[in-house]
Structure formats: C-alpha cells, structure tokens
C-alpha cells in the first residue's frame, strides 16, 4: 500500500517535524524545555497506543519501560562512558527484552488481570532497582559531568538530546502508522475486537501480542535514557512513577486510542491543560483529580477520544486523521 501517498501518514510527522524545526531555529532554552516535555509525552503516549490502541491490552504500569531503559542508558553513559545515542538504543533494547520475558507470563492474562499485573511489574521493578547497587540503590545515579563534555558542554548536550528526542518521536509515529496499516496490524485490530475469534481466523495471537509489547516497550526505553541524561540524575522514585503511566493512558484515551494522531493530540492537549491547572491557584493541587475527571468523561461520553470523535462526525476527514 502506497503509504507515502496518504495524507494521514504525513500529518503527524509533518506536525512534529515543523514543531521541532521551529524550536531549533529559534534556539531558545525555555522553548526547548517546553517542547522537550511535550515531545516526550507524545512519544510515550504513542508507544503505549501501539499496545493499547491496537491490541486493546491496557498497560497501567507502562512507565516501567521508561524507568528500566532510562536506568540502563544512564548507567552506560555515566559509568561506562558510552555515547548518548548508543546508550539510548541499548536502553530501548533492554526494555524490549524485559517486555519479551515478562510478556511470556503476563500476556497470557486477559483484560483487567493483565492491567493489574502490569502495575505489579512496575512496583517490582522499583523495588528491585532500589536494592540494586550498580544502579545506585535507593539514592540512584548521578551523571558524571565529563559525559556532557563529549557534546561540547552541558548546554550543547541539551540541544543534542532534544534533537534525538525529536527524531525518536517521529520514528514512533512512523512505526505506529506502519504497524496500523500492515497485515500484522490488521491481526492486532482483530485481537482487540475479539481475540478468540481472531485466533480461529488464524491470527497467531500470542506471538503477535508479544511482538507488539516489545515494540511498545522499546521506545519508552530510548526516551527514558534521553530524559534522564538531560536531567543529570536518576532515582527509583522518579523512574517508576505510576502517575506518569496513568497520564500516558489519559493522553491516549483523550486523543483517541488506535489512531496515530490521537496520542499526539491527547499528549499536547493534556499537557496544556495540566500546565494551565498548575498555574491556577484553585486547581494547583487538583491535577490528578482533573485527569481523573477527564478520563471519566471520555470513557462515559467520548470513548473514541477527540480524533475518534472527529472521524466519526466528519467521515470526509478520515483520510487526514489516521
């Protein structure tokens, strides 16, 4: 299928491309920081969507891959002197490997059982890392400042990290689109609708789910490395925050699960709302509750999310809103 001719393919990519390009051009630190957080949210939400949106498997604890990949990459950079991009890939690969191993057990569970098990994985990972000396135990790791020298100092390193994140996010969106429009993706959608019927039709559900889980774990691992490198330190409390997982979930549902554009819209929308609330005196402490209200309203009234709703209401726009 000539995907490069489809407007739906280009829209998310071009949006991110232009956005990153503008930030790089203007070259202002604050703008870069804001964009970094947003692009990170888009990348994480899109990765989760590959699992949740296409197979229907809800991973509540998906942040575990961000944390484990982040730790691995950080360790490789700080303690072993690896370069950022190689370490990030390594972080992603480790996350993928963990997903493969954990998935063997956990993907046999359906629905809510799977969702709960993923929370447990996150908790287990945090407990493990807190006791794991090479990763700094409960205090975590701090970056060796010489690591930044490789990139021309801390300032320049931050720009390099931003560029890598920008590229990673575009790759996630690309992969998300390609998966959705492949035969493999059709099988995943069938699993989402009715896993048993899909298997009767010949979809090898166990293998398909595992591959999807691994893909959806790889990118958070890469992103984690980039984020914590930028941060300068990593500790168990920051790396395995369950509420980040939850926010990823809300972003996917808000934007529209199962679409490529949805997580992007949802991530940007949610972050914007969250920032607005954090600065407002009344709502400052209530952003988790607000996220809950948003999630509830979506589930009850617009389960297909913003993009899904528009696609339903304006079928003509479907070509653009994948």
């Amino acid at each position: 299928m000539k995907f490069w001719r489809q407007p739906g393919f280009w829209l998310p990519l071009v949006l991110v491309l232009v956005w990153g390009g503008v930030v790089l051009f203007i070259h202002q630190d604050l703008m870069r920081e804001t964009a970094f957080i947003l692009l990170m949210a888009v990348g994480l939400a899109s990765s989760l969507n590959i699992l949740l949106g296409y197979t229907g498997y809800v991973s509540f604890g998906h942040i575990v891959f961000f944390g484990l990949g982040g730790y691995t990459g950080f360790y490789l950079i700080s303690e072993q002197g690896w370069s950022l991009s190689t370490a990030a890939i390594a972080g992603g690969l480790l996350s993928g490997l963990i997903a493969l191993l954990v998935g063997l057990a956990v993907l046999r569970l359906r629905g809510a059982y799977f969702a709960l098990a993923t929370i447990g994985i996150n908790e287990a990972a945090r407990a493990f890392v807190s006791n794991f000396e090479p990763f700094g135990g409960a205090t975590g790791l701090f970056v060796n400042f010489s690591a930044y020298q490789k990139y021309g100092g801390a300032g320049e390193a931050l720009w390099t990290t931003f560029i890598l994140l920008w590229l990673t996010t575009m790759v996630v969106l690309l992969v998300s689109y390609l998966v959705k429009h492949s035969r493999f993706g059709l099988g995943l959608l069938a699993i989402r609708e009715d896993e048993d019927a899909a298997m009767v039709m010949g979809v090898k559900a166990p293998q398909a789910k595992t591959i999807t889980y691994v893909i959806s774990a790889f990118f958070p691992g890469v992103i984690g490395t980039l984020y914590f490198f930028k941060n300068g330190n990593i500790e168990p409390g920051d790396a395995f925050q369950l509420h980040m997982s939850i926010e990823m979930l809300v972003m996917v549902m808000l934007g529209g699960m199962g679409t490529v554009l949805g997580p992007l819209v949802g991530a940007v929308g949610y972050q914007w709302l969250r920032d607005y609330l954090l600065t407002s005196p009344i709502f400052k402490d209530l952003h988790l509750a607000m996220a809950g209200v948003i999630l509830l309203l979506i589930i009850l009234f617009v389960p297909t999310g913003a993009v899904g709703w528009v696609r339903g209401r304006f079928p003509r726009l479907r070509r653009f809103l994948e």
Partner: protein, 285 residues
C-alpha cells in the same frame, strides 16, 4: 526466634481477617457484575480517614465510628455506581476498568489536596492481651472479631434477606433475574455500595492498627486483588480464606527478607495464581 515467628504469624493471621473483609468488598462487586473496582484502594483510605476524623473531632470511639463509616461507604458506592459505572456496565470490560480507575484518581486527587500526604494516626489503645507467651494487641483481636462479625453479617444478608437474595440472583444470571422482575440496576447499585461499604469498614479497622496516609489504600488494594484471585472471584468466603493465607505469609516473610520485598512477592503470587489456577482455591463463581 520461634516465639518471634509465632508472634509474627499470629499477628499476620489476625490482620488476615481484616484483609479478608477488604477483599470481600472487591470480590462481591466482581462476582455480581464482572467489574473490577479500581477505586477500591481510595475507598479503604477514606474509611481510614473517616474513622480518624470522627475520633479526633467528635471523640467517637473508633469502633462505634465504624457504623457511620460503613453507612458513608455504602452511600459512596451508590454514587460511584450511578455516576461512573452504570453507563458502561454493558460495555467491554476496558471501559468499566478505566471508569473506576478514573474515580480512583479523582478521589486520591481531591483527598491529597484536602488532607495532604502526611501520615495520620489514631491514638486509641485498648492495651494488649496475654495469651500463653504471646502479647497480642487488643486492637488486633477486636479487628479480627469485627471482621468475623462482618462476614457473618454479610452471609446472613445474602442468604436470608430479600435484597440479599436478589443480589445472588443477579450475580447468577442477570437476564433471568430481570425476567423475574428483579430491578437489576438497583441491585447492581446496592451490590456496589455493599462492596465499598466493606472496603470502608476494613479501612476503619486498619486505621486502629497502623498509621496511614491517603495513599495507604494502594497496598491494600493490591493485597485485595491477590486475595480475590487466590480465593476465587465472587466467593466472599474465599476472600476471607485468601486474606488469612496472605496474612500468614506476611507474618512469615519479614523473618527472612526485608519488608520492602513484600509487594514484589505479592505481585509474584498474584501472577503465579493467575497462571496456574486462575479460578482460585475455591473456584470462580
């Protein structure tokens, strides 16, 4: 070491009764309407806070406070059902899962803002009891007795009252029950309310044991899931049994490894049971 182990096990066993009550709330909802109430944890925490507030501000005996706490728990459950669950009761399970999860976030979010995350404590001690070579805090004993009474009460309700029988009918076969004239929505709401009531009561009892914060519900929610799966979904007695087993395990573990590993072991147990015997010890309903 043996006396310490016995003390630990006894403590765990008594705690296990209360865990069982908490899990019973979850398993009841699960059994009646196939909904996993992810707001379970926050409701337990609300039970803790409710008892605490009544104790500190009204000077009410914490055990007497259980009554209004239970009533509020019931009411809260009805509200949650009507607002969040009813619309998605027939939708794919993902919807009700996320809906109750959203309620979880809302409750935690609001309560964190109101109560902050600093730990609270109920300073009410009834002393302890000497049994053989063991010193058992009276609060534990009363907690266990309370749990047994609540279980008995639940069974009496389910088997000897009309609403209780209606609940069992709906749990068994919702369509058939509707055809027989049972208003299933009201029964579902009541069941949900009962489930949250049990959770709140368990919270109230736990508040007499340990200090707590608004986030304390989380670990108990995880324990409840493990217990429900262990005992078999929809079986209140299974929940009690599972609670006792988990309590005993918790009494056993600290002797051999640091306490921070407990959640990891509980998770491991959870996954193992689901893979090996998903219907639980007493078989799923």
């Amino acid at each position: 070491m043996w006396s310490q182990l016995t003390a630990s096990l006894t403590d765990g066993l008594l705690l296990g009764f209360v865990y069982g009550v908490a899990a019973m709330g979850l398993t009841l909802i699960w059994g009646v309407m196939s909904v996993i109430n992810l707001a379970h944890g926050p409701v337990i925490a609300l039970g803790m806070f409710g008892t605490y507030l009544l104790f500190t501000h009204l000077g009410l005996n914490p055990y007497l406070a259980l009554i209004p706490v239970a009533g509020s728990g019931l009411l809260l459950g009805l509200v949650i059902y009507v607002v969040a669950v009813h619309r998605v009761i027939n939708a794919p399970h993902l919807s009700s899962l996320l809906a109750t999860f959203a309620v979880n976030m809302i409750i935690i979010g609001i309560c964190t803002a109101v109560f902050s995350t600093s730990p609270q404590n109920i300073d009410y001690s009834l002393g302890s009891l000497e049994v053989a070579f063991l010193t058992i805090p009276a609060s534990r004993l009363i907690g266990a007795i309370g749990a047994i009474l609540v279980t008995a009460g639940l069974y009496l309700f389910l088997y000897f009252t009309r609403p209780g029988k209606a609940i069992r009918a709906v749990a068994n076969n919702r369509n058939a029950a509707e055809l027989m004239g049972i208003p299933s929505s009201q029964v579902l709401a009541l069941s949900f309310g009962l489930g949250t009531m049990l959770a709140a009561m368990a919270g109230g009892l736990i508040a007499t044991f340990f200090p707590f914060t608004i986030l304390s519900g989380g670990p108990y929610e995880l324990k409840s899931f493990v217990i429900c799966v262990l005992g078999g979904l929809g079986h209140p007695l299974g929940a009690l049994l599972g609670g006792l087993i988990l309590g005993l395990l918790e009494g056993l573990i600290p002797t051999f490894m640091p306490v921070s590993w407990v959640p990891v072991l509980e998770f491991g147990l959870f996954v193992m049971v689901l893979l090996v015997r998903p219907s639980g010890l007493l078989g799923a309903k």
